[in-house]
């Protein structure tokens, strides 16, 4: 099976997000970057399928030079090839990123394309769906279980308040959600192997962005709260406050 995984490098979840003085950008100087957590599920599923059925896994990432570290993580987990779409920054507009990814994906003739369901920096939740339209392929998002038999795909996905089973055929796009699998830790051998793989670098021209972040703000600060008490005896007072002050009961 010929499989592609699109991955993004994101700040780790612990990161405190600082803005530049003019609030036009996120200050990246103190940030520790990782492979987007959802993309770990995508890589794991791709590598597992390759191990069971044979084939090849190609990692694709668009972004500045630093993203190759995340690509190395994916290679160390077992991916075979890597294509870096080199830009000076991550575009604000996911459609622009998607169009550049779609170009490369078209060329590769992949049977399966894995992505994470969402990045944890932009939080767009868009890429798997967008690529479905751009590549005119079935795309199943927020997938927690995947079965492939021949060219038939059966995927279980999360919806609000439940799950649904979606069927389609290959080639297909899958957006991975937590629960799909347990991502492996790269082994020492995997890390050594990854070091020897040459990441193919490709220049890209990005289209004009229709969505831009004009500026950022910090969320409105919260007023300091009230400790109502230090035992269960505080419960009646708590309920009174919720009823009369907050008016939520």
């Amino acid at each position: 099976m010929n499989i592609a995984v699109c991955v993004k490098q994101t700040p780790d979840t612990e990161a405190r997000i600082k803005l530049t003085e003019d609030r036009s950008q996120v200050d990246e100087s103190d940030i520790n970057f990782i492979l987007n957590p959802y993309d770990e599920f995508a890589v794991e599923e791709a590598v597992k399928l390759k191990e069971n059925n044979g084939g090849e896994v190609t990692v694709i990432s668009l972004g500045p030079d630093r993203v190759t570290t995340a690509m190395r993580t994916a290679l160390a987990m077992g991916a075979d090839k890597a294509i870096h779409l080199k830009t000076d920054r991550h575009p604000d507009d996911p459609l622009v990123t998607a169009k550049a990814l779609a170009e490369v994906l078209k060329e590769g003739n992949y049977d399966l394309i894995f992505l994470g369901k969402q990045t944890i920096d932009d939080d767009h939740n868009q890429m798997p769906s967008i690529l479905g339209s751009l590549l005119d392929m079935p795309a199943v998002t927020v997938v927690i279980k995947l079965e492939i038999e021949g060219d038939k795909v059966k995927a279980e996905r999360e919806i609000d308040g439940g799950h649904e089973i979606v069927e389609c055929s290959l080639p297909a796009i899958i957006g991975a959600q937590r629960g799909l699998n347990e991502p492996r830790y790269p082994s020492l051998k995997g890390i050594m192997r990854a070091k020897k793989i040459q990441i193919e670098e490709r220049p890209v021209t990005l289209e004009t962005e229709q969505l831009k972040v004009a500026s950022y703000d910090y969320p409105p600060p919260k007023e300091p709260g009230k400790i109502v008490g230090d035992s269960a005896d505080a419960v009646p007072e708590l309920l009174r406050l919720l009823r009369e002050e907050a008016k939520v009961l």
């Binding site: 700040p11 979840t13 405190r16 997000i17 803005l19 996120v26 957590p37 959802y38 996911p94 459609l95 998607a98 944890i120 939080d123 767009h124 939740n125 868009q126 890429m127 769906s129 967008i130 479905g132 339209s133 199943v140 927690i144 919806i159 609000d160 308040g161 439940g162 799950h163 649904e164 089973i165 979606v166 069927e167 389609c168 937590r178 229709q210 969505l211 831009k212 972040v213 500026s215 950022y216 703000d217 969320p219 007023e223 709260g225 009230k226 400790i227 109502v228 008490g229 230090d230 035992s231 269960a232 505080a234 009646p236 708590l238 309920l239 406050l241 919720l242 907050a246 939520v248 009961l249």
Partner: protein, 317 residues
């Protein structure tokens, strides 16, 4: 400004977010219509008219009784091309997040996910969306038509303002489906989803084990609340993953969030700190959850929660 609202519905019910979006469109002073695709009931037009939507559009076809993301996207695309709205308004729900980007790509139109502020400012649409799991907020600039916007549920409250109802059946050619929903597997009981709930009671590692979760469930039942969990509780296998609140779980903004035995790690706060009121029950006064809580009780949850259940029962009688 002309807005097309995607009317989300399930099991014969219009979902709350649709009424919230109608109220929002009304308050923006826009001209707007609501579109229902699929198995919609005739009286949906009366239901939305109660909230001020004078025009309900229907696309109905036997084939549309099963959901297909690509199929629905193509239909939505065709309706948008036909009606030419400036804005396509959807909910930042599982459906909106799945469908919106597909339409965005089909129309080459920009899309903003999960907006928490949608306002008119000097004749321009002002959009704000959280990024980095709510650690910052982005003020957006959008060019292109239509602008596709999904709005976070529960941010705008639905309010009634009755108007006369009108319906129009649209005939749209139904495309071939690539992916089809075969089956809907709902939660054990018809569970209220955390993203939609007004009140959420969430439990963490402090609950000690799944055998104590009846406390969370009973409290939630009394409050008409959904149940949530920290990742520690999910990872331990005490709770299903779809209950997880936080950076790698669900983002919620209920009116009231009650955190029971949850420390308030940065990844948890990311998913719930935009709740209107936060109550924390934790025996550690230094727990970071108290930094975001409006009301806190520093005590053993196994004493506090049963007492809350008792007092609420008393209130009910």
């Amino acid at each position: 400004m002309k807005i097309l609202i995607y009317g989300e519905h399930r099991d014969g019910q219009i979902r709350k977010i649709t009424l919230e979006n109608i109220t929002l469109a009304r308050n923006l002073g826009a001209e707007f219509e609501v579109l229902f695709i699929g198995n919609a009931a005739d009286d949906f037009k009366d239901q939305v008219a109660k909230y001020g939507a004078g025009k309900a559009l229907f696309v109905r076809d036997e084939k549309l009784k099963t959901y297909s993301p690509d199929g629905y996207a193509k239909i939505l695309m065709r309706v948008v091309k036909d009606r030419q709205p400036d804005v396509l308004l959807m909910g930042a729900t599982a459906t909106g997040k799945d469908l919106g980007p597909r339409v965005s790509a089909l129309l080459n139109a920009p899309m903003a996910t999960d907006c928490v502020q949608v306002e008119m400012e000097n004749g321009q649409l002002k959009l704000v969306r959280p990024m980095y799991a709510g650690k910052v907020r982005a003020n957006l600039e959008m060019n292109g038509q239509p602008k596709i916007v999904t709005v976070r549920p529960n941010v705008y409250q639905a309010s009634e303002q009755p108007t006369a109802a009108q319906a129009e059946e649209l005939s749209v050619e139904v495309p071939d489906f690539k992916a089809i929903v075969k089956e809907i597997v709902s939660g054990a009981k018809e569970k209220l989803d955390v993203t939609e709930a007004d009140i959420i009671v969430s439990g963490g590692r402090g609950m000690k084990g799944p055998e104590n979760w009846h406390l969370i469930e009973e409290l939630a039942d009394l409050l008409g609340a959904a149940t949530g969990a920290s990742r520690a509780a999910v990872d331990a296998g005490w709770r299903p993953h779809d209950e997880q609140v936080g950076q790698t779980g669900k983002t919620v903004s209920p009116t009231l969030y009650i955190a029971v035995g949850i420390s308030g790690a940065i990844q948890h706060l990311a998913g719930m700190s935009s709740s209107k009121y936060i109550v924390a029950i934790n025996k550690d006064p230094e727990a970071p959850i108290f930094k975001v809580a409006d009301y806190g009780i520093v005590a053993d949850l196994f004493e506090v929660v049963p007492r809350m259940i008792d007092e609420l029962k008393k209130m009910k009688n």
